[in-house]
């Protein structure tokens, strides 16, 4: 079904809309503020020809969602747009601090370009750590997430502790809703560090690349199993959360997957691994072209069509598990569904318009250099400093936010300025990454029809709308549950333990 099959298209009946075939039986229509309807081919014909019977149930469905000219509720449209773009009113809330480049694991795809353990000059000094915290607390955003990354942050644990102590002290004046998170491979964890991190309410996130044989092949830890180390500490930290009375369905170690070629046929084993570890979410992230992955791409990369088959198989299986009472959600799906069904933007910085580069997140390197985002910092470690916007001791906060690179990225990632996106049915829910475009296509604007990122975003949304249009009420219920955001208030520093 396409517009060419419409005999007499009406130019006056419908408000501006975009459409896309979903499977063989449905047509999706969506509008600027993100309302959507899944129509049968006959319903779409009536809509496009402007012959929907006035007052019919179908007419009401279209009118309620502002698809009929003359029936629009402008206040509702404005309110929906405000809800979707609420993030525009505030500055960066995610602040990624690379406390060291050193790492004790060697990953085939390492996006961070880790340094060897003897490269102590890549540890952040206390002076730079304090300047970094001072800069972070100047953001206009009342919510601040300070994320420790590396390298491996546990290698420079004293720096982490100093930043936490200093940030808590400085925040007595700044009064931000402060949260700490740490992305760690957990292999250097010990009981003392667990006690400190849980005591300081630091959220912990790790990488699990699936079952042990895949994980250990991709993430090499000298003379030990990286998988066994990580899974041991996931269970131990979760026990500690339970011991202090936190709800285990809400408070647990989060884990992320980096999908390599070898992982593609193992979708079931990957999901089972996450479920067995007590994880409630699985983020099926494709590999990015940053860091070591740029060099090892010939071994670990794959066509995105193959990734989409993997994704569909994995999420189909997760839906079946959910029907059996197992709680496990896919993170990409949850992000898109929150926008599609919830009408709100969860402020996932890589999938919003404009993207979060600079205005939503900032990355601080161990040496005090500041980047628009973590991906920009990754490129810097590869020798491309396009996304360097300042240094902690020299550049003022307002200079960072007004930096020409930040301005350029805000324009380049605005989907209203992007060919293809501007006509895409998924525009209200989607986002582009100018740094990915720059790396893969040599231009921050990118060409979406040739972008692997676009292929993934479109492919996932196609899958979700197919499921929504399948008429299975259980799937719709599960999807709605996936959009439910339960705040983990325990991790807010202003809240009592």
């Amino acid at each position: 079904m396409n517009l060419l099959q419409i005999r007499k298209p009406s130019t006056t009946f419908a408000l501006p809309f975009k459409h896309r075939a979903i499977g063989k039986e449905k047509v999706l229509i969506s509008n600027t503020e993100g309302s959507f309807l899944l129509l049968s081919h006959e319903e779409f014909r009536l809509f496009a020809e402007g012959t929907v019977p006035r007052g019919s149930e179908y007419w009401k469905r279209l009118a309620e969602r502002n698809f009929i000219r003359g029936e629009e509720n402008r206040d509702a449209m404005a309110s929906q747009l405000r809800a979707r773009k609420g993030f525009l009113s505030y500055g960066p809330n995610l602040h990624i601090v690379v406390v060291t480049l050193r790492c004790n694991e060697t990953c085939v795809y390492c996006h961070a370009s880790r340094a060897n353990m003897d490269q102590v000059q890549t540890d952040m000094t206390k002076e730079i750590a304090e300047q970094t915290v001072d800069k972070i607390l100047q953001t206009t955003n009342p919510h601040v997430t300070l994320e420790f990354q590396g390298g491996e942050p546990l290698v420079a644990f004293e720096v982490v502790k100093h930043i936490i102590d200093y940030a808590l002290k400085q925040n007595e004046k700044a009064q931000k809703q402060l949260e700490f998170t740490m992305v760690s491979n957990l292999s250097l964890m010990d009981e003392e560090k667990v006690a400190y991190l849980v005591g300081k309410k630091v959220q912990i996130c790790t990488s699990i690349d699936g079952p042990e044989h895949i994980h250990d092949k991709q993430r090499r830890l000298p003379q030990a199993s990286a998988h066994q180390k990580a899974t041991h500490w996931i269970k131990r930290i979760n026990e500690e959360y339970a011991r202090i009375g936190l709800d285990p369905t809400l408070y647990h170690v989060e884990a992320l997957l980096t999908t390599t070629r070898e992982a593609l046929p193992q979708w079931k084993e990957i999901v089972d691994t996450y479920v067995s570890l007590g994880c409630k979410a699985l983020f099926l992230r494709p590999v990015d072209p940053f860091g070591f992955a740029d060099k090892t791409g010939h071994r670990i990369e794959y066509p995105r069509a193959e990734y989409m088959t993997f994704y569909r198989d994995a999420v189909d299986y997760m839906l079946e598990l959910n029907k059996q009472g197992v709680q496990i959600l896919e993170r990409f799906a949850a992000i898109f569904l929150t926008k599609i069904l919830g009408g709100e933007d969860p402020n996932f910085l890589d999938i919003r318009s404009p993207c979060g580069a600079g205005i939503g997140q900032i990355a601080y390197n161990y040496d005090g250099k500041i980047f628009t985002c973590d991906e920009g910092r990754m490129l810097h470690e590869m020798g491309d400093s396009t996304f360097l916007i300042g240094e902690v001791g020299e550049t003022s906060y307002r200079e960072l936010m007004g930096h020409e690179t930040v301005r350029a990225l805000a324009i380049a990632s605005n989907l209203d300025a992007q060919p293809d996106c501007v006509n895409c049915t998924y525009q209200a829910y989607c986002g582009v990454c100018p740094v990915h475009n720059h790396k893969s296509q040599g231009t921050i604007f990118g060409r979406m029809r040739e972008s692997t990122l676009c292929a993934v975003h479109k492919g996932i949304q196609d899958y979700l709308f197919e499921k929504l249009g399948s008429g299975d009420p259980a799937v719709v219920d599960i999807f709605k549950k996936w959009t439910t955001v339960r705040d983990r208030t325990h991790f807010l520093q202003s809240c009592a333990v």
Partner: protein, 175 residues
């Protein structure tokens, strides 16, 4: 020599020089799009633009090191053509959606920057010398035509004086 599956009247490959030539119709692609697409390729190859005929721009892409083989030339010119189309369309979209793009960008940047602090306000330059004014556009009528010391010829003209009403286009007036 022609390149496989590309129109030979638009694309040609010089295997001696290792350069590929693409003719662009000015009526189809605005010059700003040609510049934008050409700029994207300057880290990958040398890019030369010229006008061999009226209404036509020629783009020459040549390897920075070594020579460009046939397959690589085809890939390069194909990618350039896609980028050119993307730039042309983006240019049109940017014009059509200018108001939305500006509103979103302004909101995003002002929301992120916030209000200036007192220290930053103090550092602002509020003086009258903030910009150069060679034509005297920002000067008051009295300042511009006041009698200068030691210059008996300089007289303040009346409001009906032609020199006074066209001072911007005639900067010499009053000398």
């Amino acid at each position: 020599m022609p390149l496989e599956s590309l129109p030979s009247d638009l694309v040609s490959f010089d295997d001696q020089d290792g350069a590929v030539h693409l003719k662009v119709d000015d009526g189809l692609y605005p010059l700003e799009a040609v510049y934008a697409a050409a700029y994207v390729f300057i880290d990958r190859c040398y890019v030369l633009l010229d006008k061999p005929a009226s209404g036509q721009t020629r783009v020459t892409l040549s390897a920075k090191k070594g020579t460009l083989a046939g397959d690589a030339a085809r890939e390069l010119v194909g990618e350039f053509s896609n980028e050119l189309l993307s730039c042309a369309w983006r240019s049109q979209i940017a014009r059509e959606n200018r108001a939305t793009i500006e509103a979103v960008t302004a909101q995003a940047l002002s929301g992120a920057r916030g209000a200036p602090s007192l220290e930053e306000l103090e550092a602002f330059d509020f003086s009258d010398d903030a910009f150069e004014d060679p034509l005297g556009i920002a000067m008051s009528w009295e300042e511009k035509y006041a009698k200068k010391k030691g210059d008996p010829k300089a007289t303040a003209p009346t409001p009906n004086d032609e020199a006074a009403t066209s001072s911007v286009t005639k900067p010499e007036a009053g000398k």
